[in-house]
């Protein structure tokens, strides 16, 4: 009872409507964070969750997507400024293909030799992430870049007079839901997804029934990287990009995937939601760092109780 009172006393001096609008905006900021986590984690959920490759360069694939968008925005601004309002969707698609193509090359040149040694992929991809960061630095310079945002992504939508929802946040949420839907269809409702899951669950058997497991690996890895690229492209709506930006995301991303239960799409969504909401709620009450520490320790604690994550896929090995 006392704690509830203490909790409520934070809102002393606000009118009922103000409290309601704080709640709405606060939970929406939680939803935006959820969208960010989900987008970051989806690609890794495929690469790490399905293929067991510890891709430390995942953040750099996000950065590739972001830089593709920045590049397109510069290009459009210089050559056809009239197309500026509409370049963004094209840039997102381009980001998907550029990041996916780089991922494909990386798989062919590096990852395919390391499938039997999952912990070693960590070291090799850490080397890759150093190289990619330096490539970004040489091409785009060390300072932060940002893309020109079309007008329709700016501003906010006034729900009531004092409750405002930022439009780029809604766009982020929409993209996250859309991409998740596509991944679901692809993985669980298509022939190709069936092949991926078969390869993951039992490689020899999948090969025996005529699935080209090597090509499946290759395209799965490329798909995961492509999704990271999309995430990076969409992140340009909420922030700028720098060569080492990917490093900021990598630990969070891995935690989301591991916490959700590697190999489970539902688990990834649930864990992104849980982590994002608790973080944005805790940040309201504690200072940001303590909130982060609290969440990290909670995740580690829960992982101790459920070492496989929230949702365990039942596969006989």
């Amino acid at each position: 009872m006392h704690t509830t009172l203490a909790f409520l006393s934070i809102f002393e001096g606000y009118t009922g409507e103000e409290v309601r609008s704080i709640f709405v905006m606060q939970s929406f900021s939680g939803l935006s964070l959820f969208a960010v986590f989900l987008l970051m984690a989806l690609g890794l959920a495929i690469i790490f969750g399905q293929m067991k490759v510890i891709n430390m360069a995942h953040g750099e694939f996000l950065t590739i997507g972001a830089y593709t968008t920045v590049f397109m925005s510069d290009l459009v601004e210089k050559s056809v400024p009239s197309a500026l309002p509409w370049y963004f969707p094209v840039a997102v698609v381009a980001a998907f293909f550029v990041a996916g193509a780089v991922g494909f090359v990386v798989e062919v040149g590096m990852i395919r030799f390391l499938y039997k040694r999952p912990l070693d992929t960590l070291l090799a991809t850490f080397g890759l992430s150093m190289i990619l960061q330096q490539v970004f630095r040489l091409i785009f310079g060390a300072r932060e870049d940002s893309a020109v945002m079309p007008d329709w992504l700016m501003g906010s939508w006034a729900l009531t007079e004092i409750t405002e929802i930022p439009i780029n946040g809604m766009f982020l949420l929409g993209t996250a839901i859309g991409v998740t839907g596509l991944v679901y269809l692809l993985m669980y409702r298509s022939r190709w997804g069936l092949r991926v899951r078969a390869t993951v669950q039992n490689r020899e058997m999948a090969g025996a029934v005529g699935i080209n497991t090597k090509m499946t690996d290759r395209w799965t890895f490329a798909l995961g990287c492509g999704i990271a690229g999309v995430a990076g492209a969409v992140f340009t709506t909420i922030g700028s990009v720098s060569p080492s930006a990917g490093q900021l995301y990598i630990v969070d991303t891995f935690l989301v995937v591991v916490f959700g239960g590697a190999g489970s799409l539902i688990g990834t969504i649930a864990s992104a939601f849980a982590i994002a909401q608790s973080q944005s709620i805790l940040e309201f009450f504690l200072d940001g760092v303590l909130a982060k520490v609290f969440i990290l320790l909670t995740i580690v604690g829960i992982l101790m109780i459920r070492p496989q994550g929230l949702v365990v896929s039942k596969i006989r090995r």
């Binding site: 590096m110 912990l119 070291l123 150093m130 990290l296 101790m304």
Partner: protein, 390 residues
């Protein structure tokens, strides 16, 4: 007794030769060939090699990849730095004389606490007033932390990739705490301006040379300790657990306890390295405790050879020297080069420098058709395959 020392601690003929070569390089060649500045740099690198040796034990042989060794290294360093800082604070107060004390700082309180409006020494700083207690805590704090993490994780059969990511998250947590609790830890600047150890000037060039020798000797001691562990039955068990954990468990061994033990040994070695680092450089900073240095430590070990205690030392020296040299000479290219080396080592030489040396000496030996068997060098060539999560 003599044969026990010779076979187990030194690793037989080839092991003794390897150890002797390293000892000659560290104790004779480097001090003779280098000026004080360079030698101090090597001392700094060597204090990182402690972590790499620990990683050989727990990762190479035990199959436990920790991405958070920086945590233990840092805790060891911070413990010693706390003692040195208190001494420095006392010295400042003594030098300033009684009339200026109030203007400078609260008496005997580290300067950063004063800047953060802390007027009384926090209770957990009290043990660091005494050197014996500090020396115990340097080992005790990281080892207890490793024990807690180890028991919690290994009893629940968290292993492989999951363990790596969890240690990484813990490492990050610790960095966040150390950076933000400024008044207690010195924040982002860390604990700086450490000059004396019980009145003995650690910044003096001559004394730095002595510190270098101390570091080297302790490092060689760690190598011998590692040899003893690996030569014992425990060493065999470690490899067995790494390769087929299930069978060892079914044979009646408590796998979690052995894993925890070796993880604690690695943590204690890292802590010693952290403490030696503080003595060599005279400060401690949270930047050295973060995720990236921890990954670098794994890379030192991988480059040197994850199955070779001596290799870990060479790997640390090679990567650190390379990093310093190339980042000075080719600032634009060095990241390419380092990244390339990591990829190459992982893909082509999974046993690192030591593996290459073994192969070369193996070739020479077979050419001379001298059938000298080399016990202790029969490292399993099979890759450490992490067991699937239970």
């Amino acid at each position: 007794m003599k044969s026990f020392i010779y076979n187990k601690a030194l690793g037989g003929k080839s092991g003794t030769i390897g150890l002797a070569v390293l000892a000659v390089i560290l104790l004779l060649v480097f001090p003779l060939a280098m000026d004080n500045f360079r030698l101090n740099l090597v001392g700094k690198y060597l204090s990182l090699a402690f972590v790499a040796i620990g990683l050989v034990l727990c990762w190479g042989y035990g199959g436990i990849l920790s991405l958070g060794q920086g945590m233990f290294w840092g805790l060891g360093g911070y413990c010693l730095a706390a003692f040195l800082k208190l001494e420095a604070a006392r010295n400042i107060a003594a030098e300033a004389g009684s009339d200026q004390i109030n203007a400078l700082t609260t008496v005997g309180l580290p300067d950063f606490m004063d800047w953060n409006q802390i007027t009384e020494l926090p209770w957990f700083w009290y043990p660091f007033k005494s050197l014996p207690l500090t020396l115990i805590l340097v080992f005790l704090v990281p080892t207890v932390l490793a024990y807690i993490i180890g028991t919690a994780m290994f009893k629940r059969r968290v292993s492989g990739v999951y363990f790596a990511i969890i240690t990484q998250a813990l490492c990050w947590t610790m960095e966040l705490l150390f950076v933000t609790r400024q008044g207690w830890t010195g924040g982002i600047n860390g604990i700086t301006d450490l000059r004396t150890l019980l009145g003995w000037d650690i910044q003096d060039p001559g004394n730095q040379r002595i510190l270098y020798f101390v570091t080297s000797l302790l490092l060689l001691g760690c190598v011998v300790l590692g040899r003893l562990i690996l030569g014992s039955k425990l060493g065999k068990l470690l490899v067995a657990m790494r390769d087929t954990e299930g069978r060892v468990r079914f044979s009646g061994y408590d796998v979690a306890n052995f894993k925890t033990f070796i993880f604690c040994v690695a943590a204690a070695m890292s802590a010693l390295g952290g403490a030696m680092y503080v003595l060599n450089v005279g400060f401690m900073s949270p930047k050295l405790v973060t995720i990236e240095p921890s990954i670098y430590m794994v890379i030192f070990c991988a480059v040197g050879g994850r199955m070779s205690l001596l290799g870990a030392v060479y790997g640390t020296l090679a990567v650190s020297f390379g990093r310093t040299y190339f980042s000075e000479s080719f600032p634009d290219l060095w990241l390419f080069l380092m990244g390339g080396v990591f990829i190459l080592v992982t893909m082509v030489f999974p046993l690192g420098l030591a593996g290459m040396v073994d192969r070369l000496t193996g070739l020479v030996a077979s050419k001379a058709s001298a059938a000298t068997d080399a016990p202790g060098l029969e490292t399993p060539v099979s890759e450490p395959v992490s067991p699937p999560p239970a």
